[in-house]
């Protein structure tokens, strides 16, 4: 149990033990998911109490237990962020967690929210072209078997959809503790003409990078086990052939 839960006991943060769920989910199956027909049909006001005219700019794809969102919320108070998670109990935990945090800290967490959805299928239903500034893929399911590589959230053909919802100069962050998967993700992003890798030197000035290693529950687990963590960050560029 992380630190936050101990503090949270005083003010009813959700307890993770009620929300545990196996790490794998079949992204191709027809889950029972309510998604908007088009981005215009999405009622974001339901998720952000002070939304105003703002639109969602950060998306944490497969946000797990929501650690990154909670960390980024006070760092980017003007940006709306959404966590997308396919697992029923895990997404429910994040929703309950954000609701509790908003009660505890009325001014801080109004810019973060969580949706249960299949981001591999429905991103264009939620976001308009070029809407997002940042996308996060932290500790995605490695789907080790070769037959399941199509289920990997980073694959050759899905990158076109991520490029579509990201604006030019938008940034994609990836972290994994599986070296194989890291190499796979780097390979596919580097092969894709709409993405370039951002150098380590350039990353030093990005305040988000530090948080990627430590903020998520998955990341903390790897740290406890003294595991490796591999980071790769990419920029969405203009189509070189146009």
């Amino acid at each position: 149990m992380g630190k936050e839960d101990e503090v949270g006991d005083l003010v009813n943060l959700p307890q993770k033990r009620y929300y545990r769920q196996r790490a794998h989910s079949n992204p191709i199956a027809d889950h029972c998911i309510d998604y908007p027909q088009t981005p215009d049909d999405m009622d974001w006001d339901k998720y952000y109490p002070n939304k105003g005219e703002k639109s969602v700019e950060f998306a944490d794809i497969g946000c797990g237990y929501g650690g990154l969102l909670i960390t980024l919320a006070p760092m980017f108070p003007e940006s709306l962020m959404i966590g997308m998670e396919i697992r029923v109990k895990v997404s429910d935990y994040v929703m309950d967690r954000i609701a509790a945090l908003r009660i505890q800290n009325p001014d801080v967490y109004k810019n973060v929210a969580c949706l249960r959805t299949n981001a591999m299928k429905y991103l264009p239903n939620y976001f308009k072209k070029g809407q997002l500034k940042k996308m996060f893929f932290l500790y995605p399911d490695p789907h080790f078997k070769k037959a399941k590589h199509k289920w990997r959230i980073i694959n050759k053909t899905l990158l076109a959809e991520y490029a579509y919802v990201l604006r030019e100069d938008g940034i994609v962050y990836t972290v994994t503790d599986v070296k194989d998967l890291h190499e796979w993700m780097v390979l596919h992003f580097e092969e894709h003409p709409l993405f370039v890798r951002i150098t380590d030197e350039e990353l030093k000035s990005d305040p988000v990078v530090d948080k990627l290693f430590s903020s998520s529950e998955e990341g903390q687990k790897v740290t406890r086990n003294n595991g490796d963590k591999f980071l790769a960050v990419f920029r969405r560029i203009r189509d070189p052939s146009v």
């Binding site: 009620y18 029972c32 053909t157 076109a160 579509y164 003409p193 052939s241």
Partner: protein
């Protein structure tokens, strides 16, 4: 299911692994036929994979015809391109079964497959190249100008640049069920769906310009209700009778709906940024529809007839039945099996409700303690 196409006064009927060609307008050489060549089994396949490819009962499931070529694909993954003299130009095997093939301009071969990937085999190449992929079964594909357009079982129509297909231009979103057909129509994109609607799009922006609910022109509403009830027993929530096929010709759009003994004909005129769509007629027949083909002639294959209608004014009028051709090939035409549309619907399994109920109990229990 037998497939029909028309090109330049010829009717092409694909049945089983054969294509019959009937020159209905000319005076000579009324019927030719060609069988698909033997499948060329690629090396390094497992016994199981080889067996699938070698199926005896191979059936053409998609057919495309233009001036110079005839393209067909079968349920066991074979793709064959014939020239006008019925010589085999290409004969290759796909990794996964296609749902649709189409001849593009330059005679490129466009392939939409059941796992959601789209391939293009350029005319002067031997193997198809992966150009894009959806995470949902593809149902149709076309290339128009510098764009490649694909539609899937998840209600989506995707417009990508071509040949730089990694760059998505837009999505045309709004359909509420699988998108069965897409066509270019006077500069617009037109699409048909399991939701019973035909929609017109400015595909470059993804903006919907017009919509027709074809269920509105079904005379007997009981048919819709019965279909919904039947699907409901299968745990699928359905609100409309699905469109099974849509074809366009000139200003006309023709639509068939599941189980109906008529083809609906619409006219659509697009000028000065306004679209005027009219329901013109239902072309009735008294036996079950197998397939149809819309050109200047509307040819309809039913379970026991082949009917030919001709466009006069704004109306398709009955011209003749092609009995001779039908009777001569009856055995072939009637033996092929029917498509099952219900597989395109998503069976929803609700894994949320149960969780929420348990959670409610847990929280209530906690309060009691």
């Amino acid at each position: 299911m037998a497939l029909l196409k028309q090109y330049d006064g010829c009717l092409y009927v694909a049945v089983g692994d054969q294509i019959l060609i009937h020159n209905y307008s000319g005076s000579c050489a009324p019927v030719k036929s060609v069988k698909l060549p033997e499948i060329i089994i690629p090396e390094n396949l497992s016994v199981g994979q080889t067996e699938v490819l070698k199926r005896e009962d191979k059936q053409i499931i998609s057919l495309s015809v233009n001036k110079e070529y005839i393209l067909a694909t079968t349920q066991n993954k074979q793709v064959v391109l014939f020239d006008a003299k019925l010589q085999v130009i290409k004969n290759f095997v796909l990794n996964r079964a296609a749902s649709k093939v189409r001849l593009g301009s330059n005679n490129d071969i466009l392939i939409a497959d059941k796992t959601g990937d789209a391939f293009v085999c350029e005319f002067n190449k031997d193997t198809p190249a992966l150009v894009l992929g959806h995470l949902s079964m593809l149902l149709d594909i076309l290339i128009e100008d510098k764009y490649i357009i694909t539609c899937d079982r998840d209600e989506k129509i995707r417009v990508s640049h071509y040949p730089n297909c990694y760059n998505i231009l837009s999505y045309c979103l709004g359909h509420k069920e699988f998108v069965t057909n897409i066509e270019i129509f006077n500069g617009l994109l037109v699409s048909a769906s399991g939701d019973g609607t035909v929609r017109f799009w400015d595909y470059k922006s993804g903006r919907q310009i017009g919509i027709v609910n074809c269920n509105d022109f079904i005379k007997d509403k009981n048919v819709i209700e019965q279909f919904c009830l039947k699907m409901d027993q299968d745990n699928v929530e359905v609100r409309a009778l699905p469109i099974t096929d849509m074809q366009v010709h000139g200003n006309y759009v023709a639509v068939s709906l599941l189980g109906l003994n008529y083809i609906q004909i619409y006219s659509a005129v697009w000028s000065e940024d306004s679209l005027d769509v009219k329901h013109l007629q239902n072309v009735n027949f008294d036996s079950q529809l197998v397939n149809f083909s819309l050109r200047d002639r509307l040819i309809i294959l039913t379970s026991d007839k082949l009917l030919c209608y001709e466009c006069k004014g704004d109306k398709y009028e009955f011209q003749s039945d092609l009995n001779q051709f039908y009777d001569d090939n009856k055995e072939l035409i009637t033996k092929s099996s029917k498509d099952d549309f219900s597989v395109y619907y998503k069976r929803k399994f609700d894994n949320v409700q149960e969780y929420l109920e348990r959670k409610k109990l847990r929280l209530e229990g906690g309060l009691n303690k």
